[in-house]
Amino acid sequence: MSSIKIKVKKEIIEKIEEICKSFDNQSGELINVLHKTQEYLGYLPAEAQEIIARALNISAARVYGVVSFYSFFSMKPKGKCPVSVCMGTACYVRGADKIVDEFKKVLNIAVGETDNDGVFSLASLRCVGACGLAPVVLVGDKVHGRLAADDVKHIVKEYREQFAKLAEA
């Protein structure tokens, strides 16, 4: 294992090792370690998985197996405005599929992709539990409820403008 060279900034390696250590480098805490690492990096690249595997003294295959098993973990960076459309049953029955289609059209990306400038990424998720507001879309942490397909372009516009302002500043 020690022969593998990992091309990551030193401070990132140290931070991940610190996370592992905060869980006593226990392999049973792998999922908690991955949660914390994803919180820190935004996603779980292969390099980060190798650092974790080394620290917890387990194979990289086991780490990858867990990362790929759970939908909450991602190996790709998300956009700065991650859009998640709820595809729970309540939202589906109230037309969530049309909302997804509209986002695909407006953003010109498929589900699971990030657009070229890295602003928007599109994902579907299962039930945020706000079924009273169905259909529901999350942009970052903000919930947009009771949506119709027509609302999609307004939402995208709103965030694009917000983002442009931030970029200027």
């Binding site: 539990g129 706000a130 009273g132």
Partner: protein, 597 residues
Amino acid sequence: MATYKYHVLICGGTGCRASQSNKIIDNFKRLLKENGLEKEVQVVETGCFGFCEKGPIVKILPDNTFYIEVKPEDVEEIINEHVIKGRKVQRLLYVDPKTSEHKADSKHMGFYKKQLRIALRNAGFINPENIDEYIARDGYKALATVLEQNDPQATIDIIKKSGLRGRGGGGFPTGLKWEIASKNAADQKYMICNADEGDPGAFMDRSILEGDPHSVIEAMAIGGFCIGATKGLIYIRAEYPLAIERLKVAIGQAREYGLLGKNIFESGFDFDIDIRYGAGAFVCGEETALIHSMEGFRGEPTFKPPFPAQEGYLKKPSNVNNVETFANIPVIINKGWEWFSSIGTEKSKGTKVFALAGQINNVGLIEVPMGITLREVIYEIGGGIKNGKKFKAVQTGGPSGGCLTEKFLDTPIDYDNLLAAGSMMGSGGMIIMDETSCMVSVAKFYLEFTVEESCGKCTPCRIGNKRLYETLEKITNGNGTLEDLDLLRNLSTVIKDTALCGLGQTSPNPVLSTIDNFYDEYLAHVVDKKCPAGQCKALKRYVIDPDNCIGCTACARACPVGAIKGEKKLPHEITQSLCIKCGTCYEKCKFNAIKIQ
């Protein structure tokens, strides 16, 4: 509580928070202060009231006024009118759709009249982040009683006699489960709470944890004492940040009060609780998969036996119960098993929480006695179908359940009746569908879910469900044959008989129940190549009714592919070979001339 003139309860559940209930709370606090009323009016952020359709909800005590769809800017009026002048703000009251009467008191609202709240007894009444409020409502009294009696078997007997069955879906008798775990001797045992609510469309566990976390903590300690476990673990979805936060606060407070930790109530009993996080895998609701996930592995189920009661977390005897099951325990101890078993039907005692959603007027969380009929739930509590459309089906049990039709509307709801009708109780999702829902598509929707969530360990589930999904897709694309219907039936039976865990064994249920109850609709897809509900895009045909078309050209101008031809002021026509079935013409036409075939 006596010093305050009014108590303002504001829902702080996920649904209402998404509609700015935070801002409402801030506005109340700020404006009360500005008016010098902060000592007379107490503002409380509570858990979910259940009536999510009309959220955010603000309730004012002592007069029990129930304001709906409150916006942050309405707060000023509520304070000026209600708090200062004692007049109710009429425009924010619930209006009974049948009688058009304003209902100020939630007790008189159709949505609440037939409900009986046991598991949800405190949600919407107390501040979940204040342990004193829980204690004021008999909180931790049951734990004290149990520890004072110091007879685990006597407590297990009470739970057994109450008839409580697992609320997570399986319906296994809770008392019996505890008894089995209590009899397996070991140096360490674990009491585990399953809060991995993965059924899309069900959110009762989340609401209990957000609205009344102490009820679960107390019950876990009681259960821990009964089976001889000193450690409790709560496995919760990472997707529920608010519930996690409230749980952490509650566990901290319970430790501070000595209700968790060493020597609880000086009985010599030690018990403490840790939280473990899920990471988005439906199969982890299965108890063996859940345990593997807690150990830091892929959440794949294993064959039972050994049951968790024999060999569970870290190979030690463990007992897994669902959140709602736990929430019932303290009340059963406080009020007695006789009281609990007097509610419900012969084999299903007590109440069940359902998440009512879909095409229904009153979406929300309800708790009803077992034995209530679907008709009462849908038409009296749920307020009927949205937009006056016709009821078509109700789906219970989530991806493991089935769709029930009109003929089951008067069947009393309990574990056994739902199973006999081809569905199941499940965790309590109840999705109402109207005539615009295509049942083949609904089955496909659930199969898509199962295919995605199948852990891939056993072949029937991994490959069988995929084939079911492909066949359904073929049918909704208009390429299905009669043989495909036989294939669906046969393959479903094989998967049910051979899959390893509960997920695979129940995954074909949505297919089987829709074939059984809506065979005509499947036939229409494969024989007539039509989708009666008009949902399957490939089977849709838009045509213009020449009698209604006045030739306004609105549709032709809107058509993105130029498939509509015709002279001005003369009936138009759609060229079917060009039509992409986007439905734009249908939306643009003001003369009801575009028909879907």
